[in-house]
């Protein structure tokens, strides 16, 4: 296993790990903000994986000038820019709705938000 290999795949592993931890948190945490935090973690992980999907070791950032010709893929980075901003927008809304929902149900515990069922 070369250093390059480790470098490359450790990125993916970190991203995947964050996604899975985030999903686990989403499934198991009770506090509504904890769930939002878990989503943020998973989001970060997904963003890492996305950037990684266009990443090549031994290349330069995608800013072309006279000295640089071999760069990494710019597209996933562009996607991740979008994804990060979307993530914060969703988080902002989630937090607001979560705060108000917890005020309505008198607790931030998601198990108490089961008025709608069946």
């Amino acid at each position: 296993m070369s250093a390059e290999y480790l470098f490359y795949w450790s990125m993916a592993a970190t991203g995947l790990g964050l996604v899975l931890i985030g999903l686990w948190g989403v499934l198991t945490r009770k506090h509504i903000l904890r769930i939002a935090l878990a989503f943020t973690l998973a989001d970060t992980g997904v963003n890492l994986i996305l950037v990684w999907s266009g990443f090549l070791p031994n290349r330069a950032a995608p800013i072309i000038d006279s000295s640089v010709t071999t760069v990494v893929d710019p597209l996933p980075q562009a996607l991740v820019l979008t994804s990060i901003v979307i993530g914060v927008a969703v988080a902002a809304l989630f937090v607001v709705v979560g705060v108000l929902a917890s005020r309505k149900s008198g607790s931030a515990d998601i198990r108490h938000m089961k008025e709608l069922r069946w």
Binding site: A3, I21, R103
Partner: protein, 83 residues
């Protein structure tokens, strides 16, 4: 060699992030959790830099780490207290 340094950095950061992520979910205090998640975001922006994505790194640092954290802190203040 340069590459092994990169590998060490990325693996180290990665392990740190994963540990932090788990900690964020199981730590008692919500405020610690929020700060830890902010820290994970900041580390992620380091990884973005390592992956030759400076644009993403800047954005993650300013939006993911800073602004998200502020938002969560606000939410914590409004919900009040821990679970």
């Amino acid at each position: 060699m340069n590459m092994s340094l990169f590998a060490a950095a990325s693996i180290g950061t990665g392990i740190m992030m994963i540990v932090a992520a788990v900690a964020a979910l199981i730590v008692k205090k919500l405020i610690s959790a929020i700060i830890i998640v902010g820290f994970v975001s900041l580390s992620a922006s380091l990884l973005f830099l390592l992956m030759d994505a400076p644009d993403v790194a800047i954005t993650e640092a300013s939006i993911g780490a800073a602004i998200s954290t502020v938002i969560f802190l606000w939410g914590r203040g409004k919900i009040g207290g821990e679970q």
